[in-house]
Symmetry: C2
Subunit: 326 residues, 2 copies
């Protein structure tokens, strides 16, 4: 474990334990099958970053009640629901090094248990009794589905622009980070300025987080991320490293890249030569710089708060999102 | 059109027009693909019964505002979302005489547009600003997913009991009818007794509605219902006519029925001989009687209200649900 990760973990280990409990306590399915399938995705080594963001956001805004962890489960259930559906949509074989749920069971089961988790998160949201918070959660769900649909409609399209890519990751990833931070502020009854600042932090962190995630697909070390080599590309997902390199490459190299991208059965050697081209045309570096810029914005948003232990956790999480290996 | 249907339609034609408008106005997708796929299922001749129940429930409780139709769209979006997912789960070819969305597009698109409609209905629910109403909608969604999962887990199981069948149709169908009526009452700020009575009406109507729907599968006249002959059975769905007949049949006839049920490629002659056995062992009649009993309960629940034009519509809808042909 990196030093930074260790530092974060030791600051929030108690919170993470409580979140883990809340995830178990609030699932409440009527059927064993739901518990098994939901458990397969929920308890498979997720980082619990989204619920954690809600918990520390509430704390930063002075929340002292005991509902932060149960309500934080909203964000992990919502996240798990989208993973179940997205893995089916992408026909992904692996998730966190385990077989994806739709391959262990089947598509119908993955669809319906995903629906259950989505509904469960909205029931929890409704239990807050805070219409503004509920609306945030419902709108996140709407945005995420549209982000996924947009991604699906651009599947395998080498003409995907950087602007479209940013729109997609904003909807499919960043809004959930933004919502988790904002929900913490709303639960704490924070003033508008604090709520807005936390939402800005979450949004920018989410953008950087997805870019870093997309970069991981080009690190080759599959055992670490628990996915197959070049999984994104095989699923027809063009991400920023590729989009930028395609735009910058000369005609000869561009054709070479397009050939690999279009051939979904590319082998390891093809993939390595693609990575070489991504490096040659600065696709990797450019993506790293973009992610770093979003992290800078995320940190800047927090400047309205007094420095202290909680702010340090936010800043460490921001830094960690750029260097994480899984 | 039957006389009863004509009577209902003339009483609510203005409401139905406004609901149709609300369904178009409130969809608001970012992407053309979402509009097209959602439109395929939303504007394909649905009866709009669920939103109508909310509108007339609100009116019965004295609602005079103008948000009844927009908020009633919640129930049609939710219904459409579950149809998209259920048709995929059941691998159904037809829906209302048209090709099911997952066959026109693909499974991923049907999953994600279903998610969008589910989310859209919850965003609308959140816009009511009424936490109690929002909770009703979220819990409906949770119940419906669990009803579908329970049905899936019992797929093709000839040991399905009447109690399990009742649990399944309660969750997958009746809670939505119940919720639509209850939501109307909540929107109108009705007293608890009125709200409970309307919820009881909806619940019982929903049970009867699903039983009548299940009976339609054994009427052979496919052109009317827009599905294939014996579609339920081919999807492994055992419904009350079959459950009751299997329980009552002698050993010889039971084996004959089980053979047809297990052979998903049964032909028209097999299906007709199954219907003969359902009639011989009163499966059809028993189901009709059960549905009629639920309708009696539905009507009884409304006895706390003063008789009048609106109550007549509720009573007509109850009667219609037993005799409808599609």
């Amino acid at each position: 474990m990196s030093e930074l990760k260790q530092k974060i973990m030791s600051s929030v280990s108690h919170d993470l334990d409580s979140i883990e409990d809340a995830l178990k306590q609030n699932l409440k399915p009527h059927l064993d099958l739901v518990a098994t399938v939901a458990g397969h995705i929920l308890f498979s080594g997720g980082k619990r970053l989204r619920p954690l963001l809600m918990v520390i956001s509430a704390r930063l805004c002075g929340y002292q009640g005991s509902y932060d962890k149960p309500f934080a489960a909203i964000f992990e259930y919502l996240h798990a629901a989208t993973l179940l559906h997205d893995d089916l949509v992408d026909d992904a074989a692996l998730r966190r090094g385990k077989s994806a749920a739709h391959t262990v069971w089947d598509n119908p089961t993955a669809v319906l248990v995903g629906d259950f988790l989505l509904a469960r998160s909205l029931v929890l949201a409704a239990e807050t009794g805070l219409p503004e918070l509920i609306k945030v959660i419902a709108e996140i769900t709407e945005d995420m589905s549209q982000g996924e649909i947009q991604q699906l409609s651009k599947k395998g399209d080498p003409g995907l622009t950087e602007t479209e890519y940013l729109e997609i990751i904003h909807r499919k990833t960043a809004v959930l980070f933004q919502g988790a931070c904002l929900a913490g502020a709303l639960l704490a009854g924070a003033d508008k300025i604090s709520a807005k600042a936390l939402a800005q932090y979450g949004l920018n962190l989410g953008m950087a987080f997805q870019m870093a995630d997309d970069l991981l697909d080009y690190t080759i070390d599959t055992s670490a991320i628990g996915k197959n080599v070049g999984a994104d590309l095989k699923e027809g997902k063009l991400t920023l490293p590729v989009i930028f390199a395609l735009k910058s490459a000369d005609s000869f190299d561009k054709q070479k890249m397009l050939k690999i991208i279009k051939d979904q059965n590319f082998n390891f050697v093809d993939f390595c030569s693609l990575i070489d081209l991504l490096n040659k045309y600065d696709g990797i570096d450019y993506t790293k710089q973009c992610a770093a810029r979003y992290i800078k914005q995320a940190k800047k948003a927090l400047m309205i708060f007094k420095p202290g232990k909680i702010i340090d956790i936010f800043l460490d999480i921001a830094d960690y999102s750029l260097v994480r290996k899984l």
